[in-house]
């Protein structure tokens, strides 16, 4: 045994290390719990998408319409194509992903003369990754 080890205080973790361990343990346990619950409720079924107008705004001479897309199904939807129609005008955009249980949003622009109350949103299709 060296002189250095003789002078060394009794081995053990200090309060800071115990606190970090305790928080880490709870964090890892929480993450495992969330993922385990997801595993238990997982079903191999397709995405169930709904889209609705989330709001409108006049900005820079254009009428902007916010569209919110929600996935209440089990599967993931990729490349979700959204079309918005307002009178004779139409606009579209694509969302990369809408995971299950989440809401993703996008915006389309129209001439400011359109009636935003007449705007209708539809989902053209999506890809199953």
């Amino acid at each position: 045994m060296t002189a250095k080890s003789i002078n060394r205080p009794p081995a053990g973790k200090n309060p800071l290390e115990w606190a970090v361990f305790a928080l880490s343990f709870l964090l890892v346990l929480g993450v495992v719990g969330i993922l385990a619950e997801e595993v238990l409720r997982w079903q191999d079924s397709p995405a169930r998408l709904t889209a609705q107008i989330g709001g409108t705004a006049l900005q820079d001479g254009a009428r902007w319409i916010v569209v919110e897309v929600r996935n209440d199904g089990e599967g993931l939807a990729a490349d979700v194509e959204i079309e918005v129609q307002a009178g004779d005008e139409s606009a579209d955009f694509t969302l990369d992903f809408v995971p299950r249980g989440t809401v993703r949003s996008g915006r389309v622009s129209f001439p400011q003369t359109i009636d935003p109350a007449a705007a209708k949103v539809s989902i053209r299709g999506y890809r199953e990754p």
């Binding site: 053990g12 361990f21 880490s24 993450v31 993922l35 299950r100 989440t102």
Partner: protein, 286 residues
Amino acid sequence: MNFSHQRSIPQSLQEYGRGIAGGLMFSLPLLYTMEVWWAGFTLHPGRILLYLACTFVVLMLYNRFAGLRRDAALREVAIDSVEEMGLGLVLASLVLWLTGRIDHDMSLAELAGKIVMEGMTVAIGISVGTAQLGGEGTEDEGVAGDERWSGGYLPQAAIGLCGAVLFVANVAPTEEIGVIAMESSPRMLLLLAALSILLGALVLHFAGVHGADRHVARDTWLLSLRGIVTTYAVALVAAGACLYFFGRLDGLPWQLAFAYCVVAAVPAVLGASAGRLLLQIRPPGH
């Protein structure tokens, strides 16, 4: 409970600082890779759980055989591994939030998936950083290793696996691996495999890499051959596992999946050879 170390709070803070620096250094490419963000919600949650469990095993192997706790009991190694996972999750969350990859509108499952897929590599980086970035004169520097364990064939293979994972995890999730695998002819894949084996042999036996004289068995040609073959096998396993965990092998025919593994094994073999030697900061029993 018996522990092998005693640190003051400032020393612990220093060690956490080294870990955070290492965690960011080794995992920053992944934190900036969108395929990894996507993996958090495209993968089955069971696979993400398995990834978390496998990372825990890799951390245990590294901490036991190559890190600062070579003289520690299994329980102490487990405690340190949990700490590193927790810090990895916190650090990954922070970077993902700062870069706008997570927000309060996301579901818990998406948040957990993204943070775990990023945080586990950060945790391995924290473990390596804590051990590798330490300066002279710290308490841990004087720890005596157990040569019987850490110098053996299986421990060296385990450390090689840690090195391979650390290297290949940074490229496995990217589209580029698939592009190379799909566009390579069988002849080119064979050449890539030969290059990987040659790289392993070069690093372990001919390049004079620091630590090779102590950690590479080379008493007979058979032992040398075993080391080279094992290094490539470990690299292939690490490449296949990382590709699987990032969802890159899903739906592929086995021939193409194998091509992916051969392509990803090139960086993995560097991790299993040079990385393995660099990860062993001190010779066992020094």
